[in-house]
Symmetry: C2
Amino acid sequence: MIFNKTTEYALTILGFMATRNENVYSAEYLHQQLNIPRRYLRRLLTDLASHGFLKSSSGRNGGFIFAQALKEINLAMVINKLEGSDAVNNCILGFSCCVVDKPCIMHESWMEARSKMVETLTNTTLADLKEKYQMDLRKILN
Amino acid sequence: MIFNKTTEYALTILGFMATRNENVYSAEYLHQQLNIPRRYLRRLLTDLASHGFLKSSSGRNGGFIFAQALKEINLAMVINKLEGSDAVNNCILGFSCCVVDKPCIMHESWMEARSKMVETLTNTTLADLKEKYQMDLRKILN
DNA sequence: CTTAAATACTATAAAAAGGTAGTAATATAT
DNA sequence: ATATATTACTACCTTTTTATAGTATTTAAG
């Protein structure tokens, strides 16, 4: 499982938008480029706007743009907003009773695994993805 | 999200069984100890048996025991069996087209994060959990 | 001012995951 | 043999997640 489909979609959208250079992205355009179900994607875009990642403009020539600088948005932020609170921070066993001073059996192994993952996700911003994308492009051209 | 509830339950059950010293564990007993819904837990135990982690014996005094040595069962195995195929090995974006020679934008960041996690989960066996549990017990007693 | 291209809102449908119920089958103790 | 404690199987119900539909609203072009 790892992440919900909705979260995957959100990362896909933001990742795509971050690496291209359009002025504005309409839902229809993103749908065609990314193959995410049309109506579901629209709602998700609205959500991403209400979460503060995107800004929407209605009407003709409207669409979505980033509401923040790319370097301000990291992958962990997106995941946390979409999975609700701290999906990534929970005990692997979902034990509400599993806390630092009374950990469950798997606590230690899982914390180690998880914290590495969270660290990477937190350290990766959309700006990093853009940079990587452009570097890859240059490699292909040379 | 990270893992399904079913996967959490499975890890809880196996972790519990690994750290205690009963001869056999009935569904009813596990239900009382672990607070997993009675009927759902039963089905899950049957599944764990058919996946080869447990062996069941019917009838009076029946129940479940491990079908393999504790050191042969690691957390990644359990997760993979329950989440179906390779949940943990998928692209973060769920792109079927994302493969090593044509990776998606987030491939690299995600692979790094994920592989750390998979490594820990693969290296942690039920025998390790048992050992850790007994060490913790000794600490409390001293 | 009308039309067209867009987002916004709300309700509903479909699919998947989680959970329950009934009954059959099995095996042990007495 | 019978009663009891157990798992096994199958069908169904509930909740959550994913997806669709209809209609209203916004805005720019012509």
